[in-house]
Symmetry: C3
Subunit: 319 residues, 3 copies
């Protein structure tokens, strides 16, 4: 069920008065799990979260302005249901206002960076939980760049629907804050069984940074009759440091559930950024909105005596 | 009026399409009062809050999964309407996800502890305002335990409806945070005019604690034709310290209002935890959702020259 | 479209059951702009916010208690969509509970002060954006008073509708916090083309303050056939410091938009509080809820080598 707040529109409609196609939607996810993480010889059991999807609360809406134009807003914040504490910034997952039309979409505010999307779209585990490739990606190389996932103060442009082609560009004002001055772009094609995209992001040397930080990545997925294969390759650079990472993975629908598997490998210019990760998981959908899941991961970190073995059992509920 | 966001379900129903019995509810309470508190010879007049109920904002929902199974979530945070400041943690009043069925309920997240409930259920003033017994209860004895009311990182199980029997058990992962590793249980019976329950909670020695902290309590209420009598007894222990507290109280409905009275007495192993409290109050219901109230309390603290005399006049509005 | 959550009331009505005239409304504004600010010889380009209206998220509601009595609540917090960070206090824009009837309104909680309103009502730019007179007003004169816009812990009374007369008084409990103990009043008349009001506020010497802080202001607007003229005068005093400010401005509707212009001048007892400001702007309404705007300001600060030239282009969307 959607929670779009169309109540008064409904009432108005019953009274025979035309109403614009506008709506405000309340939405969110609560995802909690019982987790065990063994690092080296030490095991920690925890009630953790976000194994399958990031817990959140948000409000979004679209207003029809007529003539094919629309305005929209989106404010979404992380919630930490394992403790109830706020998730970093209050609406930091996304806070935007948009104007949309035949020309595409202009979006202002705090938003995901173009160079982030391939990491999550082309990983069977997305960027959540113990088995995600994100566990072995160094998203700043110590540069102080804060743009791996999102950036503050952005102006972005998204292409309109053009066959299967999709794309976006984004600039973020630096405003004298270390690591936020950014420019990035992403271009992709999704059609039939294929989805493929490439992206590039550059975080300008600002504040305490000694060089620009860059992120280049490509990903692809192919849907077969009984499974979806996917893979991605990425490279991050900062001063004398770099890290390349690739992943191959698969999603196999089985009944009401999906089996997930992935293998990821990171190679860094320093051994601290070398790692391999094997991920296995099963998500069982109790409904479109609710799932239970079990996930397992084994990470070998070349430069550390502390390899990680982790598993988690959880419940994810969207509203 | 409930604010359950069933709008689209309604719209869907009008279009003849079946919709699941699902809902998301926005709810809250704003409770503000003018308060005078005389401590020793010093009087402070304030615009205070939560004299009748704790101010809050929350979202909760239940989804019917079919076959008797349901999923639910609940995120609820304190609001401080006297200043607008956030109430400690953001959704700290409760942040949970649940699976429910004939087997009862499994609940994960930040939640009330089983050992808390008797304190509020069997006090005419609950745990709010100047006249609540909570004013003379020491809920941690300096131990650092944070589990008197709620705990982070909990997994809980609730019995299904079984005649009047009710009960729950809960464990909270410590996650190396002082005072949060907890186990507790509560069992009760409510039938006819009687409600009686007992609970026990143990907070394990973690971090800076030097011993386990325990809380044992029992309470009962009995509904007569013209009033409800209630009483409770509790004992908290930590290392060489302990405190026992008992209360007797009454709720007397008069017209659209309720008269409240209580007498509570705490005895501690140190004189600083000795106190008596007399509470008197009247709550007048303007509607099911809105009430005005007046409350008076006199606390004698044996180990202090600063006895407290306090009264408050307030408005409580639920939405 | 309003987002009042009347859904269940609607459903109830369809079932033929009477329902009270009660509602809870979710509301908000997202306002983001591209801004350039030149201070002295240094130019900063930024993605900024609140050029046309203050970004916010809130919930408010009114319950009909019968007999002409109503109860209401209002919790509203700032959002910072350019970064997603919380806006100071969580529901700090307003957090109140009210009882309303033929006698007027009694309101408790954190609220705007009576002495604030004339500043925003009688400025073409309100108190938002680079061109607002607020840019050259010193709202505390270093006193530590926090009551220029809002106060914590207030009890207020509003006159009922009486012809065009309107008015309010407010006291704020000090609660031993520097700069919050306040008393203020506002009285005005709005009828036909005229709106005129005067207000006075006094923040008592508390905490680190060495004297009372006072704010006296008057404002008026007059609606002509093709434009609205407005002006205001204000004086703030603290110990040996004072600042007087006046403004003349105009709003000129042109098609679906409004042209705005203002001239403001501040004179202080010290040269640091001397300034002049010229503001020009245009707001184009794409709908009742959505507007794009361009605003320009030039501020000459007598006591500073750093004059300010600023402009901004933005989108404001209300929900």
């Amino acid at each position: 069920m959607k929670k779009s707040l169309l109540a008064l529109a409904a009432l108005t409609a019953f009274a025979g008065v035309a109403s614009a196609q506008s709506s405000v939607t309340l939405f969110g996810i609560v995802d909690l799990n019982a987790r065990s993480t063994k690092t080296g010889s030490s095991t920690v059991k925890s009630l953790s979260q976000d194994g399958n999807a990031s817990s959140r609360l948000g409000f979004r809406g679209v207003e029809d302005l007529g003539g094919g134009m629309r305005a929209g807003f989106w404010i979404e914040g992380a919630i930490n249901p394992d403790t109830g504490t706020p998730g970093g910034q209050s609406w930091q997952r996304r806070s935007t206002v948009s104007l949309m039309g035949g020309f595409g979409e202009v979006r202002l505010g705090r938003d995901y960076t173009p160079s982030f999307w391939n990491y999550t779209v082309f990983d069977p585990f997305g960027t959540n939980g113990v088995a995600s490739m994100a566990q072995v990606v160094n998203g700043s190389l110590g540069s102080g760049a804060t743009t791996f996932v999102r950036a503050n103060n952005t102006i972005g442009y998204f292409l309109p629907a053009m066959g299967g082609l999709y794309g976006q560009v984004q600039v973020a004002a630096g405003e004298n804050v270390t690591g936020n001055k950014y420019i990035g772009a992403r271009l992709g094609y999704a059609g039939g069984p294929v989805n493929v995209a490439g992206a590039f992001g550059k975080t300008y040397r600002t504040g305490t940074m000694v060089d620009d930080y860059t992120d280049m990545n490509v990903g692809a997925s192919f849907k077969l009759s009984f499974m979806t294969l996917m893979g991605q390759y990425s490279k991050r650079d900062y001063s004398t440091l770099d890290q390349t990472t690739y992943l191959i993975g698969a999603l196999v629908p089985i009944g009401s559930g999906t089996f997930k598997a992935s293998y990821a490998k990171s190679d860094g210019s320093t051994v601290a950024n070398d790692a391999t990760l094997i991920g296995l998981g099963y998500v069982y959908d109790l409904s479109k909105r609710t799932a239970v899941y079990a996930q397992f991961a084994k990470a070998d970190r070349t430069g550390s005596a502390n390899d990680v073995t982790a598993y988690e059992f959880g419940v994810r509920h969207s509203f």
